[in-house]
Subunit: 277 residues, 2 copies
Amino acid sequence: MELWFTERQTQDMAITCKVIKTHHVEKSEFQEISLLETKQFGRMLVLDHAIQTTIEDEFIYHEMITHVPLFTHPDPKKVAVIGGGDGGAIREALKHPGIEKAYLVEIDGRVVEVSREYLPEISCALDDERAEVLIEDGIKFIKEHKDEFDVIMVDSTDPVGPAVGLFTGDFYRNIFEALKEDGLFVAQTESPFYNKLLISQVFSEISSVFPITKLYLYSVPTYPSGLWSFTMGSKKYDPLKVPRDRIQKLDTRYYNDQIHYACFSLPEFVKKIIGQE
Amino acid sequence: MELWFTERQTQDMAITCKVIKTHHVEKSEFQEISLLETKQFGRMLVLDHAIQTTIEDEFIYHEMITHVPLFTHPDPKKVAVIGGGDGGAIREALKHPGIEKAYLVEIDGRVVEVSREYLPEISCALDDERAEVLIEDGIKFIKEHKDEFDVIMVDSTDPVGPAVGLFTGDFYRNIFEALKEDGLFVAQTESPFYNKLLISQVFSEISSVFPITKLYLYSVPTYPSGLWSFTMGSKKYDPLKVPRDRIQKLDTRYYNDQIHYACFSLPEFVKKIIGQE
């Protein structure tokens, strides 16, 4: 018998992967959490039927959500990841030796526990003494902090269920307040092929709050269309004006100094989505 | 009833698309040719079960196979497309006003005929007076021409069946001979996620023939992994040394002057594949 896991990426297309074993399935307070062993991508975390991360390709998303903003800031010390319960963003952030404190603020403690059990390669840095895991609502956490963070990374699921509030203007305004006067943030903002309206709206919202707003792109084979985006809002620093010698060589498999600048070069159809033709 | 077309992209994963109508299926002398109406991507050309092009995303591949090499050459006049029976590469090439002659050399005349019937948006330029369609073996065609072309574009299917000979050192040496003394060529070279060995071998073969060899990347949602590559071999011109003012604004939806340079910035794992860590 062959088992295949199919994610309906849109109403009209899907990706499907051969499954060797189902390690774990549960309904948490917030969502369905599944942990599959796939033949192509190794262990795979699936939340509410959507692939979140896999052992084979997780490095791409986690490197791109962290190193681009952390090298854009000249001296990040205190950072927060909102969502990202698998711990991958924290693992990458802690590769920057200047980081003194990295909060992981995850609403669903079960995601952290399942990741600790089945994805040690990804969650391994959560026990680092500079990391602090808080199981609470990221929206509330951001509201309660002012003028405190150098960099915030919004590592959310898709804008349905628990993550809806992470794609609103209110949230971006609270992030602005939670950042120091020269702080910056990034948020995962879906696929430019399948989520044009969302990207356009989020870019417009962030632009109305932050003086510098930039979209950047990277390729993740297990995400819808394979092309994925982050949007950066920054109070002071422009990622394209980072001096090249600031970008130290880290232990990465996707990010490097060339990618840092190139990921902001957008295809025509993407420029059109954010009104930059 | 719902019908879905599934392409097994590797042994262990697949993409699947909802199909509204099957316009055409035939076995030609060389391969199975199918033309489907899909809900997500519109009309779709499928050869031997592999998606070749769709109305929705064809612009990306066709712009990237043509504009990158055609702007790298300072004055391309005579060009050839090997394969590419749908006509998309010819359509894009003829957007360059300096082109005097563009050959399409397709081994399977039925691909051209099916594309003329069902994909007029893509095949529309095949009747341009500067275009000449030759139904013959591209390997033979290249062998029979010497010192003749400014740019050659190898728009092949995957390296199985009729396209196997288009991924060999012999073919690249014959292309070198068919090009003028300052000529250059590009070949489609599959996905850096799923075809590492092929990319490594082709890059090495082309490097042994051409003084300048470069890999570049772009995103196509209907191709395996969503990330796809071309490899360029050039006798004289370096695509990264193109003066920015040479890159005229054309009617494109993916390619632009920023993409021209950025597409050569490779992720670490891709640099590793071609030995450029």
